[in-house]
Symmetry: C3
Subunit: 365 residues, 3 copies
């Protein structure tokens, strides 16, 4: 009894590919879909890897994600309401459970077998909601999502946000892996002296799926934010550690009183700022940036947390302006070569990892 | 002496089709072009069925419509001024009459024969301005525009507006023919109990050019709007009648005191809300929605009219949000099937009528 | 060591044409790039003839222009900062001199030979900054930019602005060469009686690269602006002289007391308004309009200058609305012919000159 009548702008040709577009993004992996705090009483509609998804929290506290459309007349389910057992469409009230199955059609007893939409595997871990994108739409996860213990560490407090970028996610990965831009982009916030950032010695290590960039600044002057947040005695030994993974980066910075410990000691004390940076493509030309900043103040905890998070947001606002302008200009100057400089070692390794993962997802032909 | 010099973005190739694009819309019929009240001292520029039209009222009170361009340098005539005998271009003052003929070129005695633009057949009837779209640009009307006596019935007062939709007009026809969405979309206004709307029995009749959907709710509780507008004694017998025509819908709802009359009696008394819904494509992906709401208060007439019209506007605002979101999502999920449910009988018949009319307009090849 | 990794939306294919797009604009000529006053402490990013350019002023006062991209990661250099010896990128601090050569990469000793961007020939003359567009990217200028002595004439004061138009520059040339539109477009400002403008006798002269349109209005009533700005005794002899050149127009208007001089005398006295109108394509469908208005008040100099410039800005605002609406409508009615009228003699000659210059720039095949 389905009537398929032409609507302009809407192809009536069924999609012929059963799986996903191969080669556009690394697949068979978990991406960040949301902060846990985003999923409360209302649904969250978000396009991830080019697929419109609605995320919601069931009455039992579990998170769920299905295609963001009602199977009846294609209203986004994210325009509907969350109930204990699923999400209800805001047009004619169809109810869908966490498997995308329609479980109620108001005014109609029989529910057609085909009344369902696609569902996604989602997991909540350490205050983050992860979503699985396999090479096929129905691929089962082959691993658990990444752990990020900082969010559940009682000695840390954190907060964060999600930013939308009109730029491919690789450009943000580039930016985060290259701390040398601090001296030029973040003049007004955490930048400080440009030549210190440009000349600090750094080490870069990598394997098939990660890159680690480490920079040490021993016996240096504590910057104002550090002084305000922690009772340093005098000069400090600082570290900056950037760890790239295909789904996110962990940027851990901090300092101890000069000479009081080995700063490569995992249990080092002192003042810490630990950033989480989840990067999930929205489309091939835009992305979502899920970030948190955690710190370990010993006094004025809420005040220091707020200050650290607010300053972080300010610097990310500055990065957004730069990166979106960069991408617009890359399109204007498409075809012109890019010259590499010394700071590009880390970013280029990360790019090769992403390219390699894309290739691996390609079907062997 | 015409100089035809290339301007970027502007094709210099004359249009090769003498008539209209066949098959995109039902043709050889009248569409609503404006409310009468819109045509006062200033011109109204409006794209109808993909053709930019300027509507204006002559000094003798007649309405007129011509192509919305000056034949000289193509400024929209709707940017000009209305005079007693026509419309004057706002660039160099050329004057055009209701037939699209240029009747004055300031500073020049001779008016070239070719100085004219296309004209449209328009008729004003019952406070609505109708425009004829034939299969050919110069087709003569073969009938009079539809009558809508409610606008001239002294026992009714009405008001209305024109809404612009970024969605094809068929989606609004769907929406109006299906009153069951009231319980979900219009929760905050006229919705009331969703299950009443979903479970009310309805009858659907149709012929080659119309669909009639009728719903009766005998012996029911009057909703707040009804109580405020009319001195009902207790329980009521309600009706909802939706009449679809390719150019517009008439939605008449109302109630009488329970058991006091046959509610199928055309001269039934009681409280009435009579909606007119003119739907005219702007392009294949957008449309104009000309609506009015009439009612028959016996006291506090202006106050009740204002209340009824304001509440109607609120519900239409809610529909606009839903329908535009639906269309955007239909494009995102193009190719995915739609599942029909029980409420789709009326809308689907209307869709078949529009499709049939489009086919009939196609030239036989 | 360059890593060329795919970024969506950004072609990795090098541009194959070494020169410029031929035939789109007249080449081998100077265009206005900026007012002198625009180039102070901050860079000006501006697309000219489809090429993104950054303009800046060096420490020695010279003006410079290079491609608006850093050769490293393509951030627009216009998002950076101006220094004494060049412009510094706002991302990683690369410094570029007036020849587009990178002269500093912070944190790196060796500067790669390829670390450079394209540079432009620019000249500052009479408070205007001109840029050379040759048929090839590296063509040397074959002449000096146009002179406009009014800006350096001590008996004149002037001011101006740059407007951005979403319309091809030829439409503004058309508008300026045709003063008859004053009576319809500028009703509220300098328009006055429409029939005077439409019926005034005019002479049109032209050669291969210029058009001169002259209109005299002897023994006429001084308009209010004239009366307020100059102590006329009674009736006046007025002139309007429009001189078109491919890069700009000079529109000189003014009046003397009736019968006191020959108004074709180059040294005539009286009241003068001298407009400069630099028109530079941004793209084939948009342009920059650099205008100034100069006058020669003998008293209340600043006050009269301000009044004259403000009124000029108001009339140009009116023209912008008309011309952008005209262009949008030209696209909607592409293919429909345009009828010429008596006012089109000057504009049509200018169009032929631009077309002829485009043809001449085309490579002989």
């Amino acid at each position: 009894m389905t009537v398929s009548l032409y609507i302009p702008g809407v192809s009536s040709t069924p999609k012929d590919q059963p799986g996903r577009q191969q080669g556009a993004y690394p697949l068979d992996m978990w991406y960040v879909a949301a902060h846990s705090k985003e999923l409360a009483d209302t649904p969250v509609g978000r396009t991830l890897l080019n697929e419109p998804v609605v995320l919601f929290r069931l009455g039992n506290g579990e998170v769920a994600a299905v295609e963001d459309r009602c199977c009846h007349r294609h209203l986004p389910l994210s325009a509907g309401t969350v109930e204990a057992t699923g999400i209800r469409c805001g047009y004619h009230g169809l109810l869908f459970d966490e498997n995308g199955q329609c479980t109620e059609i108001p005014g109609q007893e029989k529910i057609p077998r085909k009344a369902k939409v696609g569902a996604y595997h989602v997991r909540e871990r350490n205050q983050l909601v992860w979503i699985w994108f396999g090479t096929e739409r129905d691929s089962e996860p082959t691993c658990e999502p990444p752990e990020y213990k900082v969010h559940d560490d009682p000695s840390f407090v954190f907060d964060g946000d999600v930013y939308h970028y009109n730029a491919p996610y690789q450009l943000i990965h580039d930016n985060l892996l290259d701390l040398s831009h601090l001296g030029y982009v973040h003049l007004r916030t955490i930048g400080g002296n440009a030549s210190i950032h440009m000349n600090a010695k750094l080490t870069v290590e990598s394997d098939d799926t990660s890159v680690l960039v480490v920079r040490h600044m021993p016996n240096s002057e504590p910057p104002p934010t550090y002084k305000a947040a922690y009772p340093f005695k005098d000069r400090i030994d600082r570290w900056q550690e950037v760890r790239f993974l295909p789904s996110h980066q962990e940027i851990w910075t901090g300092a101890i009183d000069h000479g009081t410990d080995d700063i490569t000691n995992p249990n080092r004390g002192g003042f810490h700022m630990r950033g989480f940076h989840g990067l999930t493509p929205e489309t091939s030309t835009s992305c979502h940036y899920f970030w948190t900043m955690a710190t370990n103040p010993t006094q004025n905890i809420e005040e220091i947390k707020k200050k650290v998070v607010d300053q972080t947001a300010m610097t990310f606002d500055e990065d957004k302006v730069v990166i979106e302008a960069q991408y617009e200009n890359m399109k204007r100057f498409a075809g012109e070569p890019m010259i590499d400089i010394h700071v590009d070692v880390g970013p280029n390794r990360a790019r090769r990892i992403i390219e390699q993962l894309k290739q691996e997802n390609l079907p062997v032909t």
